[in-house]
């Protein structure tokens, strides 16, 4: 009795699904889905090699410092980095004194005197975090603390985006005449919606001056800042890889011993 009921339920669901399939298939054949402008013109991030790629990946401190400079001078005006503390910069090679100086340059922190009720400010110390940025108007640009982990393609996506600004191709307008880039937006095929509110931040070579003498071309700045943002998102990457090698090495030996122990115990038992 129960089985009959269950079999009936099975027939019902299978019927509904195949009916849906049938109707859907007919619709699909009658009106095949139209390609959207995004599906045709969106580009996947370029393949870019970074020092932190792969299981043996590590950061290049000189590159991270250059990238930090680009962030500070080009990006920080609009994009916050509020999950990173100034003291974390010691891990990319800055001395404690330099970190203190960088912190002092940042916006002051708000203070509140609970006795008098006065609000005040104090200069930032290394224990403080980078400032968040809030915008009035169209919308706050995203905080960059986790940008490299919150986008498919990670650092490669950021680099491709920064160097990917171009004029809308004529072919696009021919195929999709309604898809002209609206006023105030900028065409960038690496962005999912193709039109980005951020104006190209890297406009000329030499926008910043690197202290280690590296030429600050647009491509170089894009690579350096995307590497820095990867560090900002995943500062423990090197520790993680090192611990991983130690753990796997231990486990390989332990499993080997366990295997021989297993063989030893089962040696005279057919199974």
């Amino acid at each position: 009795m129960l089985r009959a009921a269950l079999i009936a339920v099975g027939f019902f669901f299978s019927f509904m699904l195949l009916y849906s399939f049938g109707r859907g298939a007919i619709d699909y054949i009658a009106e095949p889905p139209v390609a959207t402008v995004e599906s045709v013109f969106h580009k996947h991030p370029k393949e870019i090699a970074y020092s932190f790629d792969g299981p043996a990946g590590h950061y290049d401190r000189a590159q991270l410092q250059r990238g930090f400079l680009v962030y500070k001078e080009v990006c920080a005006a609009c994009h916050g980095l509020k999950l990173v503390a100034y003291r974390d910069l010691e891990n990319i090679g800055y001395s404690p004194a330099m970190v203190k100086a960088i912190a002092k340059q940042g916006p002051p922190q708000a203070t509140f005197n609970t006795v008098t009720g006065d609000a005040g400010t104090r200069p930032s110390t290394p224990a403080d975090h980078f400032a968040p940025v809030y915008y009035a108007g169209a919308g706050t640009p995203p905080d960059l603390s986790l940008i490299a982990k919150s986008r498919h393609g990670g650092a490669s996506y950021i680099d491709s985006l920064l160097t990917g600004y171009q004029a809308q191709p004529a072919e696009l307008l021919k195929q999709f005449p309604d898809a002209k880039t609206p006023e105030g937006l900028h065409y960038n095929p690496y962005f999912a919606n193709l039109n980005l509110a951020m104006p190209p931040p890297l406009t000329t070579d030499g926008q910043v001056t690197y202290s280690d003498g590296t030429k600050a071309t647009k491509a170089q700045m894009a690579k350096d800042v995307s590497a820095f943002l990867m560090w900002a998102a995943e500062p423990k990457l090197e520790t993680r890889h090192a611990t991983g090698f130690a753990v796997l090495f231990f486990l390989l030996i332990a499993t080997g011993l366990a295997y021989f122990s297993y063989r030893n115990i089962w040696a005279n038992k057919a199974h």
């Binding site: 290394p126 332990a254 021989f260």
Partner: protein, 189 residues
């Protein structure tokens, strides 16, 4: 009925060493895994230690130039009150004049200051009896019989070198570790 035991090899007979040698791999495997288990526990315990953001608050800098002679400030060090006092010459003399053998917690002012700068007395603002915040650092606060700090909770009185003279507190106010980063600034912690 077939028996598997017929094709199962017997244990080596009378070979004490032989059986033990074959067990060695089992002991080795378990011991190695045991070491691994102990090593795994270490980060599980260490995570309860102060995290990086808490350790970053583990030092406090104080600018001494703002503190006039005879004045003191109250500030925070590791989430607890800290008293920084600029002693007058009279207060220094008073502290030095005391015979340390008569003190409950014998210490000279020299021992309680750093680098020979006896005019800067930096102590925790926590009474060593039961933890109240003594009075005397703020302007107009009573400084007790010995001219230093006075704890209103149970009447402990400290002298100009913040040493306990009267009342139930067993020890002098704690002097934290600090060093001068310049003539007018100290780093505490």
């Amino acid at each position: 009925m077939a028996t598997l035991e017929q094709i199962e090899m017997p244990e080596p007979v009378g070979e004490e060493g032989g059986v033990r040698r074959r067990d060695f791999i089992n002991i080795a495997a378990v011991a190695f895994a045991g070491v691994g288990a102990v090593v795994v526990v270490l980060p599980l315990i260490n995570q309860m230690n102060p995290s990086a953001d808490v350790l970053a608050q583990a030092t406090t800098e104080v600018d001494l130039a703002a503190i006039a002679e005879g004045m003191a400030i109250k500030t925070i060090f590791r989430s607890q009150p800290l008293f920084v006092r600029h002693l007058t010459a009279k207060e220094i003399a008073e502290a030095d004049a005391v015979d340390t053998s008569s003190l409950r917690d014998p210490q000279t002012l020299e021992e309680r200051t750093v680098g020979g700068k006896k005019q800067w007395l930096i102590t925790m603002g926590v009474c060593t009896h039961l933890g109240c915040v003594p009075l005397g650092a703020g302007e107009g606060e009573p400084r007790g019989e010995y001219g230093g700090y006075f704890c209103p909770c149970h009447g402990s009185a400290y002298d100009t070198a913040a040493r306990i003279r009267k009342g139930p507190a067993p020890k002098n106010l704690v002097v934290p570790e600090y060093k001068y980063t310049s003539d007018t600034a100290v780093l505490i912690g």
